[in-house]
Structures are given as C-alpha cells and as structure tokens.
C-alpha cells in the first residue's frame, strides 16, 4: 500500500470501472428514452421516431429501454445512495449558489465526493425514475386497465410527462456542467481519473480524505 492517493499517471481515481459502466448504461438508455419520448411528446418532433427505426419500433422499445434505465438507476442507488445524504456544507452550498453560478468558487464551501448539486441530481433522477417506471407501466399496459380504473390512466399520462420534464431539466444542467463547465469532469466518467488540481478545486474534502486514508495506510 502506498502513501499517495495518486495513480501511476499522477492523477486521482474518481470513478471505478463499475461506476463508469453503470453511469453509461443509465446515460445511453436515458438518451434513447428522451429521444423516443420527445417524438411522442410533440408532432413537431415525431421525425425523431422515424429516424430511430420507425414510430412503431420506438413505441415497442421505449418501455424495454425504460426497464434498463431503471435497473441502472437502482444500481446507482446501491453504489452511491449512501454517499448522497445531505450534510451541513450542502446547506451552505445552496445559500452560496449565486457564487457558484457566477464561478466565484472560492466563496463556495468545499465539497466531499459529491457536491450538493450532484446529490440533487441523484435524488431527482432516483425518485423521478421510480415515478416514470410506475406511470410507464400503466402506459405500457394501458389496454389492460379496466374502465372502472380509468383514473389510473388519466394520472399516469400526467405523471409520466411531468417527471420526464423534471429529469430533462436536471439532464440539461448535468450535461452542461459535466462537459462545458467543469473541464475534466467528462474524463472522470470515461477513463475514471482526474487531475490533482481538479480534485482539489471541485471536491477538496474528498481529496483530503484520500490523502488521509493513504497516510493511514502507510
């Protein structure tokens, strides 16, 4: 065991292979759901379903891919659920949100492995994922629901579309943050590592933990 938390290439391991795999399972299945879902959301976007193999194919596959997405979400819950509880610094983060938005990061409390925004993203996707699954099952088997229970159908269409919209909001911010804003973050879910500077800047508490753990191992 070494006294440094660094990898041989001088960088810090942020996400294990398993974490990255699950992330992309969720990511690709979500994008498919998003595109096919949007095709049925608006006549102006129906062409997406045509491009993706025809509207009938999209209708058949969307729910199956939905199951994959929910499966990946539950795996994430298993991997990360315990690390996503709100802490005191998280509350301060929300109070300092304006600074974070204006990139005045020195005025924002340092984050652990996940910052408050990432936690919101996680729980938003987790709970919306469950609601999307429940309402999605109703939409999937709409014709099996007896007339007397039609209110279940009426509710499901609203819940499914609303939760999809909520996740789309989270998704836009997530992709923007991960690609354009926090340069280097995308690498953490591809090759798994980040630079020391990145770790210190965005997740200093986490990085210091790694240092302490490594020192203890010596």
């Amino acid at each position: 065991m070494s006294s440094t938390p660094l990898l041989a290439n001088g960088r810090v391991l942020r996400y294990s292979f398993r974490e990255r795999l699950v992330h992309w399972l969720a990511g690709f299945s979500y994008v498919y759901l998003l595109l096919t879902g949007l095709a049925f959301w608006s006549p102006w976007l129906f062409w997406i379903a045509v491009v993706l193999g025809g509207p009938t194919v999209s209708r058949e596959l969307h729910p199956w891919v939905g199951l994959i997405f929910v499966f990946a979400t539950f795996l994430m819950y298993g991997m990360w659920g315990g690390q996503m509880h709100e802490t005191e610094p998280d509350k301060e983060f929300w109070r300092a949100l304006g600074h974070y938005v204006r990139n005045e990061d020195e005025l924002v409390p340092s984050a652990g492995r996940f910052n408050a925004g990432q936690k919101l993203l996680f729980w938003g996707f987790f709970w919306c994922g469950i609601l999307l699954l429940l309402s999605g099952l109703v939409l999937w088997f709409t014709h099996l629901i007896p007339w007397g229970l039609r209110y279940v159908r009426y509710t499901a269409v609203l819940v499914h579309a609303t939760c999809a919209l909520l996740t789309i909001g989270l998704f836009i911010i997530h992709v923007y943050m991960g690609t354009a804003m926090e340069r280097g973050a995308i690498g953490s879910v591809i090759r798994g590592d980040v630079s020391v500077g990145w770790a210190k800047r965005y997740h200093r508490v986490w990085y210091e933990h790694l240092l302490r753990d490594a020192a203890a191992r010596k």
């Binding site: 290439n9 919209l165 354009a180 280097g184 690498g187 630079s195 965005y202």
Partner: protein, 310 residues
C-alpha cells in the same frame, strides 16, 4: 351526403396545417338511435360483423341478453341491456346500441401522438388509420366513451368507422340498413337532430315519458351519433352512457398547457445554459495546476489541467 372524396378536418399527431380544413362545404352526417323503439334483436351487431368482415369472438353470458361486457377490437357494435327497476316497482328493459360516438371534439384524436393515425373528416366521421397507428393506447385514455380497443395480435387499435366506406358511396351504415324496427336513422346532423327532438316531444307529450330527451352531449361539442332516451336525465342507466362526457381534464391539460409549459421550459433551459456559458464561461482549474489555459477567463489567472483532454 355522399362524398366523392373525403375532406379531412383534423389529423392526430400532425405538425402544420391540415389539408381540407375549412376548404369545402360539406354535410355533417349523423346516426340517430331511438332507444325507445329498439327491441334488442342485435341485427345491427351481426350486420357490423358482416360488413366489416370481423373475426368471430367468444360471447360471454352474464345473466342478460348482452353479447359481451363491452365492445372489443373485433366487435364494434354492442347492444347494452339493463333491467331497470322503476320507482313504482315495474321493470323497464333498457337497450342501447353502443359504438363510437364520432365526437365533434374527439378525445382519441386529441390524445394520439402518431401523425395520421386518427383523422376526422369534414363530415364528422372519426376514423382510425391502422397503418399509421403505433399501438400506444393514448386514444384509449383520451376517449370518454370507452370505445377504442387494442388488438393484442395486430398491436393496433380498432373501433367503429361509421361505415365510412359505405357513406362515401352514398350508402347508409350497415347497422342502419339491418335494423328491422326503424329505430336507427342516418342523415345530416340537422335532419337527425330535428327528427330526434320531434320523437322526444312525442314521448313526453303522448307516451308519458316526462324526461324523454335527446342525447347529444355538449361536453364534447356534440356527437355524430345521437340518442333518443326515455329518461334523458339519467343516461347512466343505459349501459353507463356518461351524463356529461368531456375529454378527461388530465388529457386536455397534458396535451394543452403542459405541452407549452414543457416546451418553454426545455427551450428556456437550453438557452439558459448557453447564455450562462457566454456570460461566465467554464469554471477553471485552480492556480496550483501548472498549465495556463490559453484565452481563459480574463478576471482570474486561468489554468488548464494537463493531459486530460486531447
């Protein structure tokens, strides 16, 4: 009322204008069902199967004359029977021919996401085009009359067409042709409405049915199938005919305001992050990283982490 070509007034899941909308003056057709002269012979059920070449399916015995509990994807026309006990203890056998109502404001069409899977002709007929149907079942949710039915084998939805193929040839629908008592009529909407009102007046004034009336529900802006009922104040008695049918409000909300809220939010979100990037740019690496980021944010010493991005 025959149409050489059918002009289309509304198309499901359709972006842009609708060919035919408001172009040609056309009669609106209407089927009139006088429940007071129906004898429950089911000739119309058979005629519907025959004309449309539908496959036969199991009938269900449920202590009544009714063929099955509700219409099916291959059984579009069903007489609903109800042995109604009146306040004075006498029995009244109520019979109502159930089928698509061809709503002026069709919930099925409003809900449908597939371009051209449901069309409404200028003559008022609402017709499913199975070759464009994707089998999502949204129409099942949108219909206030429990009419569109999903075929598990075809994975498409089917329902009464008001015999659009006959009507375009100047013929009345097959059920009308088969009815032995003349309780079914077919003509233009104003004609049928007048005939129905006439019959309702007759029932009120001469036959002692004080509540007799015409069922042409305004909640869906009227239908192209209308009923004469002995008791129009209680349509539910007639095999669950809804008293005040509407497109379900959640469906209207989902296909109306929610669509706009969602679209504005999604476009706003995309513009928002773009504007944020223009105004604030990326967060940069802290100064303890070695490589300066070329052309970085002017306000702060900018650096770029090494080796991570090509």
């Amino acid at each position: 009322m025959s149409q050489a070509t059918l002009e289309i007034r509304a198309i499901s899941g359709h972006a842009g204008s609708v060919p035919g909308a408001g172009v040609r003056r056309e009669f609106e057709v209407c089927k009139l069902i006088d429940t007071t002269t129906c004898i429950g012979c089911k000739a119309c059920e058979v005629a519907c199967l025959e004309w449309n070449g539908l496959s036969f399916s199991e009938t269900t015995f449920n202590n009544s004359y009714q063929t099955m509990p509700e219409t099916q994807w291959n059984y579009w026309n069903l007489i609903k029977f109800n042995e109604h006990e009146r306040e004075d203890g006498t029995l009244q056998l109520l019979m109502r021919k159930d089928q698509c109502m061809h709503c002026e404001e069709p919930g099925c069409l409003i809900a449908c996401p597939a371009d051209g899977a449901i069309v409404q002709y200028v003559n008022g007929i609402v017709d499913f085009q199975q070759e464009h149907c994707i089998g999502c079942g949204y129409c099942v949710t949108g219909c206030p009359f429990n009419i569109p039915k999903f075929s598990p084998t075809a994975r498409k939805v089917f329902k009464c067409t008001l015999c659009v193929d006959r009507v375009t040839q100047g013929l009345e629908p097959a059920c009308i042709k088969a009815c032995p008592t003349g309780c079914l009529h077919f003509g233009t909407k104003p004609e049928m409405k007048a005939l129905a009102e006439n019959r309702a007046t007759q029932l009120r004034e001469n036959s002692g049915f004080e509540n007799a009336g015409v069922y042409d529900p305004p909640g869906v802006r009227g239908t192209h199938v209308i009923y004469v009922l002995h008791d129009a104040s209680n349509p539910e008695l007639y095999g669950g005919l809804p008293k005040d049918p509407h497109v379900p409000w959640t469906v209207s909300f989902w296909k109306g305001p929610l669509k706009w809220i969602g679209n504005i939010a999604m476009i706003g979100g995309l513009l928002g992050v773009f504007a944020h990037y223009l105004r604030f740019g990326p967060k940069v690496e802290s100064a303890d990283d070695e490589t300066p980021r070329p052309g970085g944010a002017a306000s702060r010493p900018a650096t770029r982490e090494p080796g991570n991005r090509p």
